[in-house]
Symmetry: C2
Subunit: 398 residues, 2 copies
């Protein structure tokens, strides 16, 4: 059925998803073949599966400095965010029917928030400046005593900007609110510690840090009032019923273990490659704009805008380079980069966006090649297309 | 970390979970290694992942005779049931705040129903006779014009009894209700056809028919008013957002394809083995009770009760035989078989229950051996234990 061949690709779309680490796939393999027990079964196969799940729980807990009992496995980041946001709201007293999020959250946060809004909650969206950062004083002022939940992502998926979650959480905690952070883009790229962030809830997505798709976790601080999203039997202490995705959970645990051991090396090496890529791009392409902040950002992310073209037109010319123009989780439609629009960027800048996100296997050679390919594709695009503002708008609507 | 060795086991716990078919694991392998694209990504890796997901959707649709657009992938049977039951209830008009289920549904159905009950819905639980079947006239009479949803499982997980879902669905449809069936235990064991059942919603769990854990599907008849359980980006047409579990979905599709091609052979062969096992057990053990109906039942399931002992005590003596005493999805606690209690069985009969569920790899030799092991273990248990009713009650509460 698959007709397109898989030629070597320079993969710069790690914020969309990462390859599964070979160690992760290897760790999962037995649970795909011989270790097929149901962790709820009271026989040798069941017990072995249960042990594997509990070992993974310890590995995920270690990654963020939590207790294993505070980790609940889910089907991924979207479910974790739904569970956190709607689970807190379901338990919120009448006097706290308000939640605070940032203006640049992922749809996995904005959609549950909109659902609450439709049911009568107030939703405050903290504005983010063009730099990608958030004014703490304004934010703190917005968090009143009527807020049940603050939910702000730890790292922005498009720009890579880090949010001041620890400071916001402290302000929210002072007002008696529960605090949640979507750490999907941060885990595995920067150190993430519950002791530092002091949030009550934290979402993890396996496939963003070399683990499998379809598995994630929610950190739930002991004592946090939270209603489960899915109900059924007693798995995950009733917080997330359904037969456990044993192989996926083992994969998530192994990815967590690798993230701990590799974090520092990956961070330094990848940040340098990203900086090299920016240097090459800014030299070759006059007028290219960098949206990723110079400080307080993920090491692997470089969101740029090419002047006077559609980012998608540039990428379409280089099939051997895999990158993104919008948020990977809801692409397929031709639209400007929604995060840039939320940050107040002009439409043409948001349409010219290309997100280059590096990973563990990215090499210096790939960076040089990527810069060359992008610069060439840009030159061809700008010289063949000369779309006026109307032509571009026409493209937007399709 | 895993200390217990894996000696050869006679696996008779296929209703709890099945081994992943080698063909399924093989089909998943590329998506665990090289094909790591995010189906939402607009580059070669993304497109290939998207094609794989759509091929799997066709395979699952073919299994039940549905259109691919009517299949939504989920994280498993529990999520599918939650989505169906709560999704219909969320859209139900004020005049239809009542749902009808059977008295022997899985917790993945009873728990969402109880949640609705707590929010003001009426829940009617259709009684089931000792034979495991359901009186159609009584059931039809219970389905009034105020019912928004009928949800009855296709095959009972403990007894293996088949429920008259097509007839019930017809009665419910006549009253304007939406109809759902939890087909988790039926798929892969008996033919399951939307054209025959004519239900609006049908739940599928991958790991019950040689697919992976952590993936399932919900059939949603075109036009059925249903609110999504999880909200976020636009995956699965917005009905089930979150980055797709590509490897798991490919595994589910392959399991569906195998189920289609193997169904008849598996059915006949396994039913004969099950009947042989019953013959041997009933010859060797005087007073053993069979709960699985002789007709209208799954081919692979044999629920029996050993007289005067705890089923768990019998199984504890034969670690080389993997079977279950209760519903596998919520075991770990010592309690009587809940389905048998719901069917009106006496406590001692429900405590003596052992469920033997056969599968694709089960052999005639294993059946002979299992009967021998069970009979020996039973004799040892009955001769060493002589627990009075109080001693047994003591065991129940731990």
């Amino acid at each position: 059925m698959i007709e397109e061949t898989l030629a070597p690709v320079i993969y710069l779309d790690h914020n969309a998803t990462t390859p599964i680490a070979p160690e992760v796939a290897d760790a999962m393999e037995p649970y795909m073949r011989t270790e097929y027990g149901n962790p709820s079964s009271d026989h040798v196969l069941g017990r072995r599966a249960r042990l594997a799940v509990e070992e993974a729980r310890e590995q995920v807990a270690t990654l963020i400095g939590a207790d294993p009992e505070e980790i609940v496995f889910t089907s991924g980041g979207t479910e974790s965010n739904n569970m956190a946001i709607r689970g807190v709201a379901a338990m919120a007293p009448e006097s706290r029917r308000r939640i605070v999020i940032s203006a640049v959250e992922h749809p996995a946060t904005t959609a549950p928030s909109a659902l609450l809004e439709a049911s009568g909650f107030l939703v405050t969206r903290l504005p983010i400046g063009r730099s990608g950062s958030l004014d703490l004083a304004t934010a703190a002022a917005a968090i009143g005593d009527n807020v049940s939940l603050l939910s702000v992502m730890l790292a922005q998926n498009e720009t890579g900007a880090l949010m001041p979650v620890a400071e916001l959480a402290a302000a929210a905690r002072d007002r008696g609110a529960i605090t949640h952070t979507d750490a999907a883009q941060a885990i595995g790229k920067i150190p993430v510690s519950i002791a530092e962030l002091k949030v009550d809830l934290l979402s993890i997505a396996g496939h963003k840090f070399y683990g499998p798709k379809g598995v994630g976790a929610l950190y739930i601080r002991r004592g946090t009032p939270l209603s489960p999203l899915v109900v059924g039997a007693s798995q995950e202490r009733g917080m997330r019923p359904g037969t456990e995705n044993v192989a996926g959970i083992v994969g998530l645990g192994t990815a967590a273990r690798l993230a701990v051991s590799r974090l520092m090396d990956d961070h330094l090496r990848i940040a340098k490659l990203r900086d090299d890529l920016w240097k090459a791009l800014s030299t070759k392409i006059s007028g290219v704009i960098r949206h990723t902040p110079k400080e307080a950002c993920l090491p692997n992310t470089l969101l740029v805008s090419f002047p006077g073209v559609l980012g998608a037109d540039v990428l379409a010319r280089i099939p051997q380079l895999a990158a993104s123009t919008g948020s990977a989780c809801h692409a397929g439609e031709y639209a400007p980069n929604a995060t840039l629009i939320a940050l107040g960027a002009p439409l043409d800048v948001a349409l010219g966006a290309v997100r280059l996100s590096l990973g563990r296997a990215t090499t210096a050679g790939e960076m040089a090649k990527a810069a060359e390919l992008l610069a060439d594709a840009y030159q061809t695009t700008i010289s063949t297309n000369s779309p006026g503002p109307n032509a571009r708008k026409g493209n937007v609507s399709k």
